[in-house]
């Protein structure tokens, strides 16, 4: 499966307004079914890169192609059937029922003025079940813990049926048990053949999920290699500009 170029970013330059470039001629190829971790210091451009790859942000220069078609050439609906993007945080103004919340993921498969049908409801239920959240279907999102909410949000991405999941810090701000549960859920999605591109500050998560990792620094890819390579303290020192030591500590991963 892997090896063929699936999602491709060529010479991406991105910046906010007239400000300096956050991403500077970034080139990146991702294969189908690949797991790709994006690491790097705060402000390095991880989320910007993920947003450009998902079509949410338009680069100043360069292009993103999906199966050799420019992302810009896809309609919003076509793009949404292929790529699901999950921001790190989202506002939740209303206390939706969990099943309805996940059901929103089915929108790219519905006509503009249509309502979700029984097949959409069952797809949403299946997505919840896949993440061990089946018994939460009738609860409200306001009653969920942080970890449960994160699983419900990932279930919504799953219900979307996209082959590529782009997740911004999917396991941050969670206790070790919840972080591990999210990591296990992501590992199951990888096994199921999904392409997962995610940002993280957690080197342990990157090594646990495996696949490939890149480190961004100053808007450029400073390192690109197998996730196992994240054990290299000297490489991390160069990327982050501080000294690292490899220690045996309790870890959920």
């Amino acid at each position: 499966m892997s090896g063929t170029s699936y999602l491709s970013a060529r010479d991406i330059v991105f910046g906010w307004g007239a400000g300096p470039a956050v991403l500077d001629r970034v080139r990146l190829e991702a294969a189908r079914g690949q797991t790709l971790a994006i690491l790097g210091p705060n402000g390095a451009g991880k989320t910007s890169l993920l947003s450009v790859l998902s079509g949410r942000l338009t680069p100043r220069a360069g292009s993103v192609t999906l199966e050799h078609r420019p992302l810009r050439a896809l309609s919003a609906r076509e793009r949404a059937q292929r790529i699901a993007f999950l921001p790190q945080l989202e506002k939740l103004p209303f206390n939706y029922r969990v099943l309805d919340f996940v059901l929103m993921g089915r929108t790219p498969h519905m006509e503009a003025f249509a309502l979700p049908g029984p097949e959409d409801e069952s797809a949403a239920s299946v997505a919840l079940e896949a993440l061990g959240m089946g018994s939460f279907a009738d609860r409200n999102i306001g009653e969920l813990s942080g970890g449960e909410l994160q699983l419900a949000r990932i279930a919504r991405c799953l219900a979307q049926g996209a082959s590529i999941l782009m997740l911004d810090e999917p396991a941050s701000m969670l206790d070790p048990a919840h972080a591990r549960h999210i990591a296990d859920a992501l590992a199951a999605l990888v096994s199921a053949g999904k392409t997962i591109i995610y940002t993280t500050h957690d080197i342990g998560l990157g090594i646990f999920l495996g696949g490939r990792a890149i480190i961004i620094a100053h808007g450029k890819i400073a390192w690109d290699g197998p996730a196992e390579g994240l054990r290299d303290a000297e490489m991390l020192e160069r990327a982050y500009g501080i000294s690292f030591s490899v220690k045996e500590l309790p870890s959920a991963f």
């Binding site: 309609s75 949404a80 993007f85 506002k91 209303f94 929103m104 929108t107 018994s135 279907a137 009738d138």
Partner: protein, 346 residues
């Protein structure tokens, strides 16, 4: 760790819940039908209270009152309520803020200023007042949208809310200016009466002229009831789901403002309906746009119809409708908040 999957239990619970939701919708339709039928015969002819329907067969004046005065007025009240409830629910959803209503993009204040301007210019024909009010309402909406694009503070939603605030305040000031320069004996009472809202001016002719825009707005808001859920989410999420949030939010705003604007042009400013009714509906059966939008329309219609029936029948002189809706609206709003039933997540 998070419990075993229990899809069967989950689905059957969802099924019974679905039936409960259907029941509420049916109940609202039934209540509206009953209230409508009763209101038709409530009034002050031949005596204060309930008119015997059999009078329609024998009394020409009763027929005139029921079919040419009460019926268009009540249909107008229903249409106004549908529009106010639907617009309020839709705007609250797409701005992810349960505390906005149709007035917040400057539409109500714009309409009030337009009407006052027409009256000051001596254009007392009601069609002219309505045209001025409608044009000014759309002008206020356009100004809010235009300003929001240019604000350099906040995200898209905050910019719209701030722009609406500024535009509302601006038109309030212009309205105050109109009141200040108005002839206190001839013009001021008309302006004040118009800003208090009333169904008195409604007639078959005015209903026919306002209905196409109002019904088109209702159809669009109803058609987009599922999209309202998506638009309430973060733009990054709705974009990922294939929605174009800025474009669709604008379409909802324009439909809501046009519907409210065209009805306000005839009836004056009727407040609180669009704010309170969707909150009541959400407190009863959850925030899903599929139910909140149609039920807020029906709830709004019942609210306005009951208020208008009280406004025209309780005292020998008519009470302006806006006073009745504000009175009930403010009380229910306070009660809702006291009982902590305003639905907010996190």
């Amino acid at each position: 760790m998070w419990g075993k999957a229990s899809s069967v239990g989950g689905r059957s619970a969802a099924g019974s819940r679905g039936r409960a939701r259907g029941a509420l919708g049916g109940a609202l339709v039934a209540i509206l039908a009953v209230v409508f039928a009763l209101s038709l015969f409530v009034g002050r002819y031949p005596a204060p209270g309930f008119m015997n329907p059999s009078m329609l067969a024998s009394d020409e004046l009763a027929r005139q009152i029921v079919f040419n005065s009460r019926l268009p007025r009540m249909l107008g009240a229903v249409l106004l309520g549908l529009v106010l409830g639907g617009a309020g629910a839709s705007l609250q959803s797409v701005f992810g803020n349960p505390l906005v209503d149709a007035g917040f993009l400057g539409v109500s204040q714009g309409a009030a200023f337009g009407a006052a301007l027409a009256l000051i210019l001596g254009l007392r024909a009601y069609s002219m007042v309505a045209v001025f009010a409608f044009v000014a309402a759309l002008l206020a909406l356009g100004l809010s949208l235009w300003l929001a694009e240019r604000f350099k503070y906040g995200g898209q939603i905050l910019r719209l809310i701030l722009a609406g605030l500024a535009v509302s305040a601006f038109f309030s000031a212009l309205l105050a200016m109109m009141k200040y320069v108005a002839d206190p004996l001839k013009q001021l009472p008309d302006i004040v009466f118009w800003t208090m809202g009333s169904m008195v001016p409604m007639s078959w002719q005015r209903l026919e002229s306002a209905a196409p825009v109002a019904l088109a707005a209702l159809a669009l808001l109803f058609g987009m009831r599922w999209r309202m859920n998506l638009l309430s989410l973060d733009d990054a999420v709705s974009h990922s789901l294939g929605v174009r949030p800025a474009l669709e939010r604008r379409a909802v705003s324009i439909a809501a403002a046009a519907g409210v604007g065209v009805m306000t042009a005839v009836c004056g400013v009727v407040g609180w309906v669009g704010l309170v009714v969707p909150q009541l509906v959400r407190a009863i059966d959850g925030p899903d746009g599929r139910t909140v939008v149609p039920r807020s329309m029906l709830g709004g219609a019942i609210f306005v119809l009951v208020s208008d029936t009280l406004a025209r029948s309780v005292f020998s002189g008519e009470i302006p409708l806006g006073i009745v809706t504000s009175l009930f609206g403010a009380l229910s709003f306070a009660l809702l908040l006291t009982l902590r039933r305003v639905e907010l997540a996190r």
